[in-house]
């Protein structure tokens, strides 16, 4: 469904009545926590850099038991991971109730226009002259991301709800978000709410 809300707002609304532990994977400066002031969930953060509750490297299996956290959130994280399929399965494994994952739609009309005009997608795809770790390792297009998520979620027997987020940073996105275009062109970020079945 289309929404003008931010990914943080959507996550906060979906978990408003939940309790337990939430772990924010790839938390960086913990923006999500600012949206969870009213939540009963205990907030924990994880990142590949130090300074967080957990220091997880998603390129490797996580040293965490199954169903460890009521809520796991990984917003715009998986496209940074070479082993994206395994990392996604690991996040599902450690989730007890709900997992939220989001991806940038790099083939939305905003990015298509930008690439046509400038020949570059965004700074996250730059080939630098010296090594740089923080980059997108996958070109996440709307149809391929949806198929990828559906495939992994089906094998894990979860329910999934998709949110097509229209908000974006591109110069053209405010206009494009109002145009009567297919979701693959309008959507800037794709957020998936994945609910584990009780069984």
């Amino acid at each position: 469904m289309f929404t003008w809300a931010s990914k943080y707002q959507i996550v906060a609304e979906c978990i408003a009545n939940m309790s337990g532990i939430l772990v924010d994977v790839g938390a960086r400066d913990r923006v999500l926590r600012q949206h969870l002031q009213a939540s009963k969930l205990q907030y924990l953060s994880s990142d590949i850099v130090p300074g967080h509750d957990f220091r997880w490297d998603l390129e490797k299996p996580l040293d965490v038991p199954d169903n460890s956290f009521e809520v796991v959130v990984a917003l715009d994280v998986l496209e940074h991971i070479e082993r994206i399929h395994d990392a996604f399965r690991e996040l599902i494994r450690i989730t007890k109730e709900k997992l939220f994952v989001s991806f940038p739609n790099m083939t939305c009309l905003s990015f298509r226009l930008h690439f046509f005009r400038y020949g570059q997608l965004s700074g996250k795809y730059t080939l630098p002259t010296v090594p740089q770790d923080d980059r997108h390792r996958w070109l996440t297009s709307y149809p391929q991301v949806c198929t990828f998520v559906q495939h992994v979620v089906q094998t894990a027997r979860c329910d999934v709800q998709r949110y097509d987020i229209l908000q974006g940073y591109s110069r053209w996105q405010p206009l494009i978000s109002y145009l009567p275009l297919p979701a693959a062109l309008r959507t800037y970020t794709i957020l998936f709410e994945i609910t584990k079945s009780a069984a």
């Binding site: 399929h85 083939t107 298509r112 046509f116 020949g119 795809y125 080939l127 996958w138 070109l139 297009s141």
Partner: protein, 219 residues
């Protein structure tokens, strides 16, 4: 001052030419009249080997998969001594490698005389149009599939960035970037017409350049 410590901006400008031929023919032409040992990295079905004079070159192939003279993984340090081969060639290989900077330095290390690197330009006019119209770059090498595909492009190699990358890394490796041959893309504008347009000063910013072939020599 040693070339390895010379700032990139001080490097002499390489000779730049344009070609309508394919990458294998261009590289074979560049190697004509030379002799020595040659390692073809990412050789696959050894197309280049068939185009080289067997009396001039001792050809060795290398790939990640078995069935070659060397089975090499460019993600790691190569188990070969410095300056092992007179010529080292890597055609459309580095964009597949996560540790692209390390791989470049390793290829340079095992080169005695000349290193030839080929990188695709993904931001040609036809590819930009394909991305605008269809949302794909005209290749499946960037696809996110339901299962991990090992053989994929790990870098979005676009014209100004590959030039800057090779300039900086060849200088760091102590190599001189002598020559750049731009293989022209033919899908929209015939290559013959493309060369004319470029000679008139149009499309000089890589819009019609499908690949860049970089020739680097050791001092």
């Amino acid at each position: 001052m040693a070339s390895s410590s010379r700032p990139v901006s001080d490097q002499p400008r390489p000779l730049k030419t344009y070609s309508r031929k394919d990458k294998y023919t261009i590289v074979a032409d560049l190697l004509r009249g030379k002799t020595g040992t040659l390692l073809d990295v990412g050789a696959r079905d050894r197309v280049l080997g068939r185009l080289l004079d067997p009396h001039a070159f001792t050809y060795y192939s290398a790939d990640l998969s078995p069935g070659h003279d060397y089975q090499l993984n460019l993600e790691e340090k190569l188990p070969l001594p410095d300056h092992s081969f007179d010529f080292v060639v890597a055609l459309d290989v580095l964009e597949h490698v996560e540790h692209i900077h390390l791989a470049f330095q390793e290829l340079a290390r095992i080169t005695r005389k000349c290193l030839i690197i080929v990188l695709p330009n993904i931001a040609t006019l036809p590819r930009r149009w394909s991305f605008l119209w269809r949302g794909n770059l005209g290749t499946g090498k960037y696809d996110l599939l339901t299962e991990h595909q090992g053989d994929r492009h790990r870098w979005l190699t676009v014209y100004p960035e590959i030039n800057a990358f090779v300039n900086a890394n060849s200088a760091q490796a102590g190599l001189n970037l002598d020559r750049v041959v731009e293989e022209l893309e033919s899908s929209i504008i015939p290559r013959r017409i493309a060369i004319r347009l470029i000679s008139f000063g149009l499309f000089r910013n890589g819009l019609l350049t499908g690949r860049c072939i970089y020739v680097m020599t050791r001092k």
